[in-house]
Symmetry: C3
Subunit: 156 residues, 3 copies
């Protein structure tokens, strides 16, 4: 019930979804599981064997590696200065602002309720604690949390 | 798919919605775009040419101006001391608590993952950074962020 | 529209739901109201005369008492070290990690936009301010808020 999956979505083998998702123009790797109330926009890529938990939003410009855990209610962003309208007063559409790329490395884990600012790189095996606001890059294997998220454990 | 729009909703011209919304008793201005998984309650007003992004909740008592950007997963509130039940033990219904008004001025931008406490006024052209918790008024043109959100750049 | 309620859900009398919910294997007490875009997982228990507001996620291992207010966009968690896959490289399913229990006492109130870390106990009549990240136990009647949530008013 409630799978809204546009024709241009590239779904890998064995992707599982359970209901109330909105996917368009994105690419999802093999064996990944996508929870309820998830939206994934065009141009976003999610790797293989990931868990994308309920209530999460993955926007254009986000590229997530393999075996990544994305918790519940995680909000990615791609625009540092979001506005509703442009200088001409017309609603801004995709392409109407600088879309900053966000990368999440293989095996990383992003805790529930986190917000990820645009343009950051979350390293391989990095851990973002629940409820964090990630404002800068996270090194491979590091653990960060808080608002703003700061390093609590250095990477290996 | 999944547009739950009550008969009492006042929709302006050219309002766009894509799926999974729950709107009742609210008023939406011309040309505004409403993302997926959005709920807007009775008595709420959203102006013209706004973007209300996915996963956002706009409650009774909230009045949003024109050309406002509301990010993803933004939670408005209207009750300073929310409870499930009243002194009689019955579930509290709308009208059963003091509904504090929240105002968002024209051209403001509220970052994704933010929570707005009840009764605040976010000024014209103000910017609320992603992941913020807004606990007090924000002056016209000011930039705030953090939990609690504090002023990072004064208004003009 | 959009009530996805598995056959194994135990619903009390007079439970109200309005649309777009995903419930499976959980137990909901009499007279409780569940908002839109809510997911409640198997093994979770919600008491009687509670309000579970829109956009909230209640996971396995969570037990909520009676007359509890759960705000909008509240994320519960049950795994301290969430991962997408196990050591064998297969996606982790329920049972594949240590599920820490979370308890919320009767009459408590959890503000919108809050995240609750796994294994905490939120006491009877306790108040969690909006936008908080609850990382440790909250005493009966205490008020906490912030990220991390700290005590602002001691319990009675």
């Amino acid at each position: 019930m409630g799978l809204r999956i546009a024709a241009d979505v590239k779904l890998g083998e064995g992707v599982r979804m359970h209901g109330f998702v909105n996917l368009y123009g994105c690419e999802i790797g093999d064996g990944t599981r996508i929870g309820c109330f998830v939206e994934i926009q065009k141009g976003a890529k999610v790797g293989s064997r990931c868990k994308v938990s309920s209530h999460t939003f993955i926007c254009e410009g986000v590229e997530i590696g393999d075996e990544v855990f994305v918790g519940h209610g995680v909000m990615f962003t791609n625009d540092r200065y979001p506005k509703a309208v442009g200088v001409d007063g017309a609603l801004l559409e995709s392409g109407g602002w600088e879309c900053l790329p966000t990368r999440v490395g293989n095996g990383a884990s992003i805790g529930s309720g986190s917000t990820v600012l645009p343009g950051v790189c979350i390293g391989r095996g990095a851990v973002v604690g629940a409820g964090s606001v990630v404002t800068r890059d996270v090194a491979d294997g590091a653990t960060v949390f808080g608002n703003p998220a700061v390093v609590r454990k250095e990477g290996a």
